[in-house]
């Protein structure tokens, strides 16, 4: 990667041991639009037989899953909001939202989609969420150590549902990733996280999670919130990631008020 002029990395250590470019990338993320994710949890049963446990999860908790949401503030009222979709699919059961620079996230989504397909071609198995997160994070790390490139200016929230249940991961420009029960990124991150800490309960249903997500976004929202200026993606036990239509979001908003 990089021409002969730039075969050295532009991300170098400072005397204090920090990678300043990554810090700046995190600043870029922090000034991006707020996005958040909430994971629903399966309840814990004390059973000796593992097979029975899985069956019970499916019967008793059909509505657990993951919600991700983001503000969709457009630079002008003249922009056609139907042409913009911030929440994207990586596979049929994994979705992603970002905070930071949109074009950077497009590159990552494209690479991750391809990696998911390559995984399937090699193992004939749908890629588990953790594997896809790991590979995406590896790409982001590559760009902090290669010649002539800069780190990505986005943090991603990856939501998926696989054999290990619902999962929510955050990936940072440095390439580090964490699993979260609920998380927020972007402009209003500290307020949003405080709100989530108060509101989050372990046995949230998917609908409740959507309501909580909307309320969290509302906290720092400037202006009138509607189905046109926020985006919500959900995935439930049916394992199909889906972006809600503006009409559906308006319904949820009506319920919340």
């Amino acid at each position: 990667m990089g021409d002969s002029q730039y075969s050295f990395s532009l991300t170098t250590f400072s005397p204090s041991g920090k990678l300043v470019q990554i810090e700046h990338a995190l600043t870029a993320v922090g000034s991006g639009q707020t996005s958040l994710g909430i994971k629903g949890f399966p309840q814990k049963f004390h059973l000796s037989d593992q097979a029975d446990v899985k069956l019970l999860h499916r019967i008793i908790r059909p509505s657990n899953g993951v919600v991700i949401a983001t503000e969709k503030k457009l630079p002008s009222i003249l922009v056609d909001e139907t042409s913009v979709q911030k929440i994207q699919l990586m596979t049929t059961n994994i979705g992603v939202v970002y905070s930071g620079m949109g074009p950077d996230s497009r590159v990552l989504v494209r690479k991750s989609r391809k990696q998911a397909q390559q995984y399937f071609r090699l193992y004939k198995e749908a890629i588990p969420v953790t594997q896809l997160v790991r590979e995406t994070a590896a790409v982001m790390q590559e760009f902090t150590q290669s010649g002539g490139v800069r780190p990505f200016g986005v943090s991603l929230l990856i939501a998926g549902y696989d054999d290990n249940g619902p999962q929510l991961y955050q990936v940072d420009p440095s390439g580090s990733y964490f699993s979260w029960k609920a998380s927020a990124m972007g402009k209003n991150v500290s307020n949003a996280k405080t709100f989530l800490e108060k509101r989050y309960t372990e046995d949230m249903e998917l609908d409740d999670a959507v309501h909580t997500a909307i309320l969290t976004l509302k906290e720092g929202f400037q202006g009138q919130i509607s189905g046109k200026n926020i985006e919500i993606g959900i995935i439930g036990a049916d394992r199909k990631f889906r972006v809600l239509t503006p009409a559906e979001i308006d319904d949820y908003l009506a319920e919340v008020e």
């Binding site: 699919l89 989609r113 397909q117 390559q118």
Partner: protein, 278 residues
């Protein structure tokens, strides 16, 4: 796709294959080892045989969409390698592809294009079109100049309507209302040519496809076993695996064999029982 050597079978049987990892990949085949392979053949090194699907595959367009059919025998020369293999491959929810020729080639090429179609669906947000699959297949096969031995019947229904195409190993394609490929294609085409008409109903179409495949199964040595059918209409696809089983396996009677005394000759030596355990 990168660096691939068509003569890799010989290379592997001969010893280590040296792949130049530092040469930039350009796709298609590299013919660097051809001279060496000729020399090895003269010396007596035989190419290992590969499994082919001596096959009957068919497709036809009916009033609501497309019906594909295939037999289920995979052969390795004169030997039946798989009595019930699947020759109708998934490309997209609304597009399926029957494959004749070298089994590995048809599998690999349909898997690859299926993956590419999925990525395209994510990028565009739209249902895949049959012509997209067709163009991806033909450009891949053309770039390998016929060495990827895959002869395909591609069918599906998309927003522009039902489509049926045949793809040949060198990369040429035809668009047809009914098509047959494989070693049993003549037997199947005879059935189609006499009985096909436009605007068949679903049941008529399935019956005609099954008849054509059966004709291939019974009259062509390279085809046999069962009939697989796939019905694709707007919004729905039905994969009828083993729709007909006209060659049931008859096993030896479960009563077992009855050997009379004296069947087995005796040496006359005394029987010494083995040492009992202490």
């Amino acid at each position: 796709m990168g660096y691939m050597c068509w003569s890799s079978e010989i290379a592997y049987s001969g010893g280590m294959a040296r792949f130049a990892a530092d040469v930039p990949t350009r796709g298609g085949f590299s013919f660097d080892l051809c001279q060496r392979n000729e020399m090895l053949l003269k010396k007596g090194n035989q190419l290992p045989t590969f499994r082919k699907t001596g096959t009957t595959i068919v497709g036809l367009v009916f009033e609501d969409g497309v019906i594909l059919g295939a037999d289920t025998r995979a052969t390795e020369g004169p030997i039946v390698a798989d009595k019930n293999c699947e020759k109708i491959h998934y490309m997209a929810p609304n597009i399926y592809c029957c494959g004749a020729g070298t089994a590995a080639d048809t599998e690999a090429v349909t898997d690859m294009v299926s993956s590419q179609l999925q990525l395209h669906r994510y990028a565009t947000g739209r249902e895949s079109r049959v012509v997209t699959a067709l163009t991806l297949l033909k450009s891949h096969l053309f770039s390998y100049q016929g060495h990827v031995s895959a002869a395909l019947v591609l069918g599906g229904v998309d927003i522009t309507g039902p489509h049926l195409h045949t793809v040949y190993p060198h990369g040429s394609t035809d668009t047809l209302p009914f098509a047959t490929m494989g070693s049993g294609s003549l037997a199947a085409m005879a059935i189609f040519e006499s009985k096909f008409r436009e605007g068949l109903t679903r049941d008529e179409g399935i019956k005609l496809v099954s008849e054509a495949i059966c004709s291939g199964i019974f009259n062509d040595l390279g085809s046999g076993s069962n009939v697989d059918v796939c019905v694709i209409t707007r919004g729905q696809t039905e994969y009828l695996r083993n729709h007909q089983l006209p060659n049931p396996r008859t096993y030896v009677s479960s009563r077992g064999y009855n050997f009379l005394k004296g069947h087995t000759g005796k040496t006359g030596e005394p029987y010494i029982p083995p040492n009992p355990r202490r």
